[in-house]
Subunit: 330 residues, 4 copies
Amino acid sequence: MTIRIGIIGTGVMGADHARTLRATISGASVEAVFDVDARRAATAAAGARVLDDPLALIKDVEVDAVLIASSDATHEDFVLASIAAGKPVLCEKPLAPDVAGCLRIIDAELAAGRRLVSVGFMRRYDAGYTSLRRTLAAGEIGAPLLMHCVHRNVSVPDGFTGSMLVTSSAAHEIDITRWLLAEEIVAVTSHRPRASSLVGALPDPQFLVFETASGVLVDVEVFVNARYGYDVRCELVGERGTATLAPEAPTLVRRDASASRAIPHDWRDRFAGAYAHELQDWVDGIGAGAARGASAWDGYAATAVAQAGVAALESGRTAVELVTKPPLYK
Amino acid sequence: MTIRIGIIGTGVMGADHARTLRATISGASVEAVFDVDARRAATAAAGARVLDDPLALIKDVEVDAVLIASSDATHEDFVLASIAAGKPVLCEKPLAPDVAGCLRIIDAELAAGRRLVSVGFMRRYDAGYTSLRRTLAAGEIGAPLLMHCVHRNVSVPDGFTGSMLVTSSAAHEIDITRWLLAEEIVAVTSHRPRASSLVGALPDPQFLVFETASGVLVDVEVFVNARYGYDVRCELVGERGTATLAPEAPTLVRRDASASRAIPHDWRDRFAGAYAHELQDWVDGIGAGAARGASAWDGYAATAVAQAGVAALESGRTAVELVTKPPLYK
Amino acid sequence: MTIRIGIIGTGVMGADHARTLRATISGASVEAVFDVDARRAATAAAGARVLDDPLALIKDVEVDAVLIASSDATHEDFVLASIAAGKPVLCEKPLAPDVAGCLRIIDAELAAGRRLVSVGFMRRYDAGYTSLRRTLAAGEIGAPLLMHCVHRNVSVPDGFTGSMLVTSSAAHEIDITRWLLAEEIVAVTSHRPRASSLVGALPDPQFLVFETASGVLVDVEVFVNARYGYDVRCELVGERGTATLAPEAPTLVRRDASASRAIPHDWRDRFAGAYAHELQDWVDGIGAGAARGASAWDGYAATAVAQAGVAALESGRTAVELVTKPPLYK
Amino acid sequence: MTIRIGIIGTGVMGADHARTLRATISGASVEAVFDVDARRAATAAAGARVLDDPLALIKDVEVDAVLIASSDATHEDFVLASIAAGKPVLCEKPLAPDVAGCLRIIDAELAAGRRLVSVGFMRRYDAGYTSLRRTLAAGEIGAPLLMHCVHRNVSVPDGFTGSMLVTSSAAHEIDITRWLLAEEIVAVTSHRPRASSLVGALPDPQFLVFETASGVLVDVEVFVNARYGYDVRCELVGERGTATLAPEAPTLVRRDASASRAIPHDWRDRFAGAYAHELQDWVDGIGAGAARGASAWDGYAATAVAQAGVAALESGRTAVELVTKPPLYK
């Protein structure tokens, strides 16, 4: 059985997903594509149908499942339409930019009575993070106490704001914290270091501290103009040892008095394998009738913590309040 | 278009390939399976047809391409039958155990007038080796002078012989040397260290030295009962620097007074990505009408060097004599 | 010229210093030793004179310089007596446990009109930290913005308190921050993670955040019962790159499916070279008539920041107030 | 007790030794210095006596022990004179450039009835090599079977010959092989790779294979114009695991898309600690009345293997013939 995918939004991520689906995913095809820029849609479609109405794409009888990679503000409507159409949907993070939107999606899914929504937190499919999780689960380092995270980008486009360091960048650390530790984040504190002089007015880097329900402290450096490379790191500190995410380029070059390994340029280099595994697992799950990956609840919790993080930029330690978790997500 | 694959031989490698084709390869399906052990074939088939005649499988009109993972001695016949049927064929190494068999395959392919044969030297698809090759091609380390290789297995099954350290294990180093340096190996010398006392009568490890046409010296430790893990390493030494294959597990664990990274147990852990890329590239090539990966010539050269290596175990430096390379392989 | 050293206090550190002075320091001898435990003093003396009065030791005409490694509460008196005797004195940290004591020492030194006091912040002599400082000074990573520190011990003796995580352990991070960044720390915030269940009532680990005068943010994990080893790490994050203290054992062992390097057991393994360089530099400085290493001002500032850190354990962000820096220390 | 050292030869190594003795060695002083270049001698002397006759220096009543760092051809005479004077002598390698000279020194020492001679194989004092030896002795990797060595220099001065790659460079691998494995080398084979085009007529690099008495195979790449840095590596391969000499610069710098560690420029950077430990141990041994470090026998064996290595450059596998080892060296 081949799952026929409809893609909404073919910017950088959507076009990447289209390529990955065609090039390396078993059991899936790109059936239809929509983008506000029809030319961009045609390029990404590579022969598949280009539709001019995203809601029509969602309802199209030849489309079995929907992949949403359009702008953040449109996510909620397209996810709700997919649920209404009874179709599995993989939505790039954020599920919705605000908590209210996420809750409307949860309500719709509860009304539908089954999980249809997956959120594109691809790090859950990275070989390093999955190894960290297995190491923790195996008891190799004892109970977790602290977690140190670093999230660095080479640079960000114009228009990137201080809030986006939390909502767009740290969102990944929020999700991976919840997934690795299997508990919720209950408070966020922000510390603001001296800003880089190379970046105009953006308050970059930022330093966040999360507290989890059990008291694990998670600190996160977010630095979106780190210049030297795309670098994501994580050390889990347990009562008896630590486990560190430490991916290395597979070759070491010695020349000019130094021994060096390459650092990737962006998240697509770094997480290409994770994206492919995420898509394959999503497609496999559709075939098996089971939703896989991060759920609408995970998407909601990530947005709620991010919102607290944005508040913390101004007002210090901010508690995260979540609604009661519906049984569907347990 | 979906390429329908027929698989001959479903031992460890064949069964792995069947799983990979189903699980992660885009544009391919497992159409039919043959194995001398019908039960094993049925397991690997996972619903696909199980045939009881490998030659019938090759000729089957529903089979577009053939994957050969049966015992070494059967390779030649099945490859020749595939060529006769005009079908693309991916044959696990060795192409044939002896030079004469390889030459018969080359002759058949020349008679067919086009490349149909690919040989399963999967390291050419490994992220580390491809990075080494790019580093060399980019001139980062200058012209190559030496190459140091290590090939270690945890253990080998009973019946593994001293010759097989060359023909089965070092075969990969033979191919990767030719591929990285883009030239032929012209002589092989063998040195025999003290054998491991843990391995019965097997002369294990062995130490081989290859000379290439331009004079690059390649040394290879082959140690098939190294116990501690599966470990493949390679350092290219150039006039201005060196590049080293140095894959690392993506996580580092600190406990009990040591900082450690896991070492894989066998080649399937280590080269899972390479096998998947090899199969995808083969399938893509079939779709595009072009043979990809190592050619019949490469399979022939590998067997010729391995044969010289076996002779060198007894008689010191042994020259490698190759026939003239047909234009089809240039 | 041989500098004749008198040592006060021959517990772990003092006995170590006595051994180092005898074994590997050029131009110095151990002249006299005092300890409250006369037997312990005799062992450490190894033939040198054992005195029963520390103040007599300081005044002894055969003693050229004084090394203080007695209990923290005694430091001030012995340092003041050394200044009064006009003798160079190297005092283990803390210079004094409270700010008032440190200021009395500064006053005495100002009255003496010259620097006689050095404080034993040995990390300034570690090959890794000095390399970090050179890297920063060379502009290789741009202006500093953040610094991430980890300070882990295997375990601590009974009686170790929560305050001591700051005053005894983090004291080293306080000094090295000031030395690396060449500016003062102006505020301290404390975060308290879940405590290790293996440690009784001690609030261990702790997580501190320092702010420097220019706005650099320095976070410090202090975990004195980390079990697995003695581990001190530091990453300086600049506008264009980062530099990380990452010492590695000089050998890598591959066995039992892992590649591992040893982690030291305690600070004496880790900083043996730094202690030797510190002592040699102190001795050389005495010969040259110049005080070397951390000054009384550095000792004062470290105590002032540590005191703020202890306050921060209870009351959140705490500002550090320093007196005006006397010209003697500029 | 201070050991008063007389130094013969104050070129690069001798001047370094003079500095080290003064700066960081406990219990020693530089008493007198000789060099064929009197001005160079005066600089290195730094106030010590400059003598114009090396034999007078050896006999000088104020000189307790002799350090020889003059040109290779002069070593034998000065060592013999030191033995005749009954004084401990530390001679830079080679003990003598030819086997006959080494044997004359052994005879003289046997006649003297006690060990007075130490040979400057400083790697025996390197933290990495000593850790390798402990790892092997502890049985962590099982019985040794193979050893892979690399010895690379940035460049060599004009006049460096092909033979010197063996006698001057590989001499260190010869000694360290004998010391790590605690057995003699019985044969040497040479392989000649393509020479670097950047080095004129010098046959550089070379590749040597040693066989030890028990059958361990040791391969050595010697590349004295490797350009990129001074790099010495060693992997011991045992029946159950391997141990690798893998020293790393203590800091890691991330910038410009790469994570890198510095590689030292020459042997003095790399082995500064080993030289200091060697000198300290030699001085301590003199105080204790015991010869330390590599013996005259070790110096003889190294020269004998090197001589076989030079022969092997022309004639393939060459056996090493040693005289019977006198009891003095057991």
